[in-house]
């Protein structure tokens, strides 16, 4: 571990340091604002350090991690998302009583886990990253333990995450057994050796896909999603919906590009089936829902289905499409859950549709932000979602995957229906319930403001971000 490695690892080190500092602060004096501020500073520092380590990349840090522009980009994305979640959760938990400081430790560890995931190049770092992400999530989801729903969600997530992690481990064991190496790059060379008998590799890969499938809430493994998103507190749900999925997808993209999985026909058919089923399941399940959190859960399943469509299109365009779509998806999901968090009071989360009836006439700004987020989910212009969906279809069209694109188009039309149901509720003339609800805390409004600005800017002028993503070398 030379000096160069340390600089390359700077962001991760800062995150770990921040965790310890926050823990010490809590030990000394338990104050919600202090721990939130410290976390914010820690994440900010880590984000800042990205530029420092950027001039050292690409650099292989021990066989486990490979820090390069690709992983730094996603680390940056994850840290910014965590910053937003911290702001949202401060506003959200301030309204609740009970001790909230531990949440920030868990969140820092989870962000560290995601950072490790994104830059992993080895099964061990992959597994450790995944667990570093999952274990804190068990705690975060069941955080407001006094209420029954989060507890139930926490139990479910724990059991199912453990089960899927075990499936993945077993898959890894098989792949390791077959290839003799756990490093992604070496695996690639093994796979292309002539006369190589993929004895256990294919089933191993499939089991790993189950692990991915669970974490990304893709079709056959998606049943847990609505319960966890509804049960978990809104900021945590945002965290689960964005950062945990984003990190895993970045890893999926890097891993399957390194081992040229496109060549393995069976694996690709599995992805095709998963994509189609998750697009359909996601959109159809949300059709007549009237719990906003569950609608967002189902729509996130559908959106991951769109991402998998782009993932299957190999080549430069797929990388750009996935990269941009992830950014747009992050902004939109954080925004949507942010609105739910901001509107939730001490009584309970504002998740039933009736809470949003006539919202526009009570709080026009919040309502327009929420409408903008919903339109971005639906892929309407002026929002980043539109450019994202455009790129997804472009990626699909470039390799003529017509059947999946038609399914994408039809299911996104169904998707339109339930987004419009929420918009209709927002703009319906409410029966004069003029109470403006809890005033929005400053950090919450800052977060939402930043998200809306980013959404519209990327929607209208996506060129800078596209240039940045294009420069990331694939895998």
């Amino acid at each position: 571990m030379t000096g160069l490695d340390f600089i390359a690892l700077l962001p991760l080190l800062i995150l770990a340091a921040a965790t310890v500092i926050v823990m010490l602060a809590i030990a000394i004096h338990r104050c919600h604002a202090l721990s939130a501020a410290l976390t914010f500073v820690g994440l900010g520092a880590s984000f800042g350090s990205l530029w420092i380590s950027a001039c050292r990349v690409p650099c292989k840090v021990t066989p486990l991690l490979l820090i390069d522009r690709y992983s730094l980009f996603y680390m940056g994305l994850i840290t910014v998302a965590s910053l937003v979640v911290v702001l949202l959760s401060y506003g959200y938990f301030e309204k609740l009583d009970g001790d909230h400081d531990e949440l920030y430790i868990l969140m820092l560890v989870a962000t560290l886990g995601s950072a490790v995931l994104v830059s992993s190049n080895h099964f061990i770092s992959f597994f450790l990253g995944l667990e570093l992400l999952s274990v804190p999530l068990y705690g975060m989801i069941a955080y407001t333990r006094r209420r029954p729903l989060p507890l139930e969600a926490g139990v479910k997530y724990l059991v199912l995450a453990a089960v899927s992690a075990t499936f993945m481990l077993f898959g890894m064991a098989l792949v390791y057994g077959a290839l003799g190496t756990m490093r992604f790059d070496q695996m690639a060379t093994q796979l292309v050796l002539p006369g190589f008998d993929p004895w256990l590799v294919i089933p191993g890969l499939t089991l790993i896909i189950t692990g991915f499938g669970f974490k990304l809430a893709l079709a056959p493994f998606h049943i847990w999603t609505p319960d966890i998103y509804q049960g978990a507190p809104a900021p945590v749900a945002a965290y689960v919906a964005t950062i945990s999925k984003g990190a895993m997808f970045a890893l999926l993209l890097r891993y399957f590009y390194q081992i040229e999985a496109q060549g393995q026909a069976p694996v690709m058919t599995v992805f095709a089936v998963i994509a189609i089923v998750s697009m359909c399941a996601g959109n159809i399940l949300a059709l007549l829902q009237d719990n906003v959190k569950r609608i967002l859960a189902y729509s996130s399943i559908a959106h991951l289905g769109y991402l998998v469509v782009a993932f299957q299109a190999s080549g430069q365009l797929a990388i750009i499409a996935v990269g941009f779509y992830l950014v747009a998806y992050f902004i939109t999901m954080l925004g949507a859950f942010g609105i739910v968090a901001v509107l939730s009071g001490s009584a309970g989360d504002a998740d039933s549709l009736s809470d949003y009836r006539g919202l526009f006439w009570r709080r026009p700004v919040v309502a327009s932000v929420f409408t903008l987020m919903l339109f971005s989910l639906a892929g309407i212009p002026v929002t980043a979602g539109f450019i994202g969906k455009f790129y997804i279809v472009a990626a699909g069209a470039s390799v003529a995957m017509w059947s999946q694109i038609i399914v994408l188009v039809v299911t996104s039309a169904i998707g339109l229906f339930y987004y419009l149901r929420i918009v209709v509720a927002i703009f319906s003339d409410s029966a004069g319930s003029a109470d403006a609800g809890p005033a929005i805390a400053l950090p919450g409004s800052v977060a939402l403001g930043f998200l809306t600005a980013a959404l519209v800017f990327l929607g209208v002028y996506p060129q800078p971000l596209l240039g940045l993503i294009r420069s990331l070398p694939p895998g």
Partner: protein, 100 residues
């Protein structure tokens, strides 16, 4: 000469037994125990793979799996306590309120 294939088969059987345990038992404790079995089976598979290639990596992975199992069980049992405290039962089906 060590039967690598048979080793994997044993690990596989233990793994599937763990899956049955998770699917059948409604008591959360038993579910956690089944998960332990599955983790153990995975660890075994890793060690066997490591032995096949004569590398210590398998055992390193086994060690990390142990660490993960420990962390996960601690949180799991914490949840079990909280669950029992609130619901007075450990039957997972009884506590599930969310559906649709």
């Amino acid at each position: 000469m060590l039967p690598i294939r048979e080793g994997f088969i044993v690990a596989g059987i233990l793994f599937t037994l763990g899956v049955v345990g998770v699917l059948v038992r409604r008591n959360l404790l038993f579910v956690l125990m089944s998960i332990e079995i599955m983790l153990n089976a995975a660890g075994l598979a890793f060690v066997i793979a490591g032995t096949r290639w004569g590398q210590p990596d398998g055992q390193v992975m086994f060690l990390f799996i142990l660490a993960m199992a420990a962390a996960e069980v601690s949180v799991g049992l914490g949840l079990v306590l909280e669950l029992y405290h609130q619901f007075k039962t450990l039957d997972t089906d009884a506590i599930s309120r969310m559906k649709g």
